[in-house]
Assembly symmetry: C2
Homo-oligomer: 327 residues x 2
């Protein structure tokens, strides 16, 4: 059905090797014959068979991308970044969704391994040491760091520190914190940073414990926060923050007059739902792009030493209300 390099070679009166060269643009073919070959190829509707090419070069021209949840806008943005950079590099992307299940990450990795040149693993839920390590392909982590692994991650510790500084500057000295799932690496970073800097800034930190990263989790967080003297709540992410705000409203607690709320991640949700929410903006698009760039580096030089790139977060301040006097 589809024509082969032989057909084109025959039609153009050259050898298959020349056809191959014309398409691999090694520049090792005269301009004249190149045109001739390309013309015949177009006429016959020929394009190189990627499977055959791959069988011999060992390169697939594909990169794998594994994310916990495609429907989460946070990861959607990461994919867009990866996509953009990959398109430039003429690489296609194979995407896998693990439904937030850590154990599916290893499976996805293994099934992708033979089909791609490298894999980008966004916000892995697994323990890094549980991931298969005999895959023999480069892996770049996004928003997760681990010794000896390539990664590009936001500086979560610094981001949350800035949020705390901001809240402190507004005059809050009793701050509640609703942590997310305990497996969350970024959550761990945030918690540690918060503990460290609260003391330093003279802020009394009320840890509300781990809540689900959902609207419901936010409702619970709000109730817990109201049981403390806190006048500000820092939430694991925007969804939790939105849930908390909803509960505050229901309980007659005015935000931000009676209670400041700070989200994290700065997803589109926060802008649509609560334009006044201050959040810690975490780079996503940029992280996706950077991850592809790192992958290209490992592909170009397999022995390169792993890079752990750190991207800055940006505090998006949309609330500058001073705290109320609460006894």
């Amino acid at each position: 059905m589809t024509s082969t390099s032989r057909d084109v070679a025959r039609a153009a009166g050259v050898s298959v090797a020349t056809v191959s060269r014309a398409f691999s643009e090694a520049g090792a073919v005269s301009e004249l014959t190149r045109r001739k070959v390309l013309t015949e190829a177009r006429r016959l509707g020929y394009s190189p068979n990627p499977a055959a090419r791959r069988l011999i070069t060992g390169r697939s021209g594909n990169i794998g991308l594994i994310v916990p949840d495609l429907a989460n806008p946070f990861f959607a943005d990461i994919i867009k970044g990866v996509q953009r950079r990959a398109r430039e590099a003429r690489q296609a992307i194979l995407v896998a969704d693990t439904d937030e299940q850590a154990r599916l990450e290893g499976d996805a990795l293994r099934s992708l391994a033979r089909q791609v040149d490298g894999v980008i693993l966004a916000s892995p839920r697994s323990e890094i040491e549980d991931l298969p390590d005999d895959l023999n392909i480069p892996i770049v982590l996004i928003h997760r760091q681990a010794p000896g692994w390539w990664s590009v991650s936001a500086d979560f510790a610094e981001g949350i520190r800035q949020a705390l500084v901001n809240v402190r500057a507004l005059g809050h000295d009793n701050v509640a914190y609703a942590a997310g799932p305990i497996q969350s690496w970024s959550g761990g970073m945030r918690t540690a940073s918060l503990r460290h800097h609260a003391a330093e800034l003279g802020v009394c930190l009320y840890e509300l414990g781990s809540v689900a990263p959902t609207i419901d989790g936010g409702l619970a967080a709000a109730d817990l926060a109201l049981a403390t003297p806190a006048t500000a709540l820092i939430a694991y992410n925007d969804v939790v923050a939105i849930g908390a705000m909803r509960r505050f409203a229901a309980r007659g607690v005015s935000v931000p007059r009676d209670m400041s709320v700070v989200g994290c991640d700065n997803t589109m949700l926060s802008q649509l739902a609560v334009p006044a929410l201050t959040t810690v903006g975490v780079p996503r698009y940029e992280a996706g792009e950077a991850a592809v760039a790192l992958l290209e580096r490992t592909l170009a030089d397999a022995d390169a030493v792993p890079v752990q790139q750190l991207l800055p977060t940006a505090l998006v301040i949309r609330d500058t209300t001073a705290p109320p006097r609460r006894s």
Copy 2:
């Protein structure tokens, strides 16, 4: 580095053909040798080279998915559906984002064509006749119908009709409609259905024209709606509806007391942002699954006659307020 079928064959004391058979589970190999082969394979960390397999079978085990915008939760859900069904069928997904640009769809299609067994094209922005038709691979459209093409689409006409019936039942007889981009096929379906049924239901329809499918478009739609006697506004999608509600609020028009608003698509956004918004729920996850199922059918029987599957929409009613008296 990675071992080949020959290595396994040697280790297991069989021929490469037997190894191949053991992995292709044709059942054409004795249970004993099968175990032996599989054991050796595991020991050596062998798995079949997909490129080689593909070169000979012609099947890649990949399916392509082209969407206008990965960051749009609407498409994210479609991907999740595709993903789920594809995983069951042990197919990987190559995803391409066209950034809402029609002309990129043809490019994406072409670049995917040689790498996949079939392509799913979600909500194409192109004119169908502009798409390349010499690709020689099956294509299934989502949320778009065209003669002679495989497709699975929501019944947009019926969905919007139900919305209109609901609004009419609430007592509104002056209804405004903010249409989306004129290139939108689903939008065209909706507009036609609305015109048709408005007359039938005795509703006076005020067409506000085409607005951008954004928050800003919603702001404009609200202003336009207030210039008519309409007591209800049906919006192209939830984002427009949310934008409109924001403007209504700013202009002191109470929703739903003074103005009913109906969205479309029932995205997560609408639930988070405005829990009271009535919307037309368009199947996404299901559409994605169904599309893979159709693709499997074309793959199993290349001569099968194209199916155009229609999925029902679901009216999500969260507002039952009667209309105000407006002169």
